[in-house]
Symmetry: C2
Subunit: 180 residues, 2 copies
């Protein structure tokens, strides 16, 4: 077994990335406090060639030193839009036919492993909320589903970057690799 060289990884140039088809998933960052978490979301969106990121409320936006550092450049390749109010971001996605998923522990949440998607057909917008408060109350009525990552420990909370990665991977892999 040997590690692949950088060349063998077939990384796309920013130009080729710009024109390649994107996967129909949008990340909505709802009042994220830490620019580190924003940069990490850009890196995750680049890795899976997601449609774009919507940055809302107090969420930091590029150009920003901390985002640039954490995203290692992905904030220059991944498309983004800023919305002062997360409600407007969610409404735009709904109008464009996206299924709106919120990452939150609610009385109606589905566990992530049980959420079944319409193989290969749907478009998804995933709302990730503030590190302390979670997603904004005002958008709860606009969500199609709330998804919850099952938790077994003392904290019942994952780092937002990690939770974003887990939910994006789960939805992405069901969308791309699940038999239709």
């Amino acid at each position: 077994m040997r590690k692949l060289s950088l060349k063998e990884l077939n990384r796309l140039s920013p130009k080729d990335y710009e024109i390649r088809e994107k996967h129909p998933i949008i990340i909505i960052l709802d009042n994220i406090r830490s620019a580190h978490n924003v940069g990490s979301a850009f890196r995750t969106a680049d890795a899976f060639a997601l449609e774009k990121i919507l940055l809302c409320g107090i969420t930091a936006k590029p150009p920003h030193r901390e985002i640039l550092k954490t995203a290692i450049g992905a904030s220059k390749t991944v498309g983004w839009q800023y919305f002062e109010n997360v409600v407007d971001a969610v409404r735009q996605c709904k109008e464009q036919g996206y299924i709106i998923l919120g990452a939150e522990q609610t009385d109606k949440s589905l566990f992530l492993q049980n959420y079944e998607i319409d193989g290969g057909k749907g478009k998804y917008a995933i709302v990730m909320g503030n590190e302390v408060k979670g997603i904004s109350e005002e958008i709860l009525p606009l969500l199609d589903h709330c998804l919850e990552i099952p938790q077994f420990g003392t904290k019942h909370s994952l780092n937002v970057s990690v939770a974003t990665g887990i939910i994006v991977w789960d939805i992405f892999s069901k969308l791309k690799y699940k038999d239709v």
Copy 2:
């Protein structure tokens, strides 16, 4: 839809966590540079009640201010051991019957979505490598499998905390929720 209160989350006390049965997954951190990534791994291990974390080489170990801050206390509940040499950590896991999985892009890697586990039966140790160099060359011959998260962008690299979360969730959910 309404958010659950802290009480409704049924978080375990550190004492109850200590005695609960753990899921048979170990995270091996192989020369991780950033204490932030170490803290995040503790938080992920707590969330999924994993067996323990093995900290190897230059990887920071508790007590450590940055780990404590990022782990928000999980470094006090999750079991850990320190090994100067990652080879010794991997050998110990092998002797204890763990299947050793490395997160790395190699010529023999399996894509994460294609890796099938022996539903409900195996024990898994997942090696996460250095932020720049990846996993140590010396342990490549000791791995049972290398797993690769498929990448479609310009970077071909995810943040280590995020990659840890994605691989842990994927293996964990196959182990716990897949029909045997």
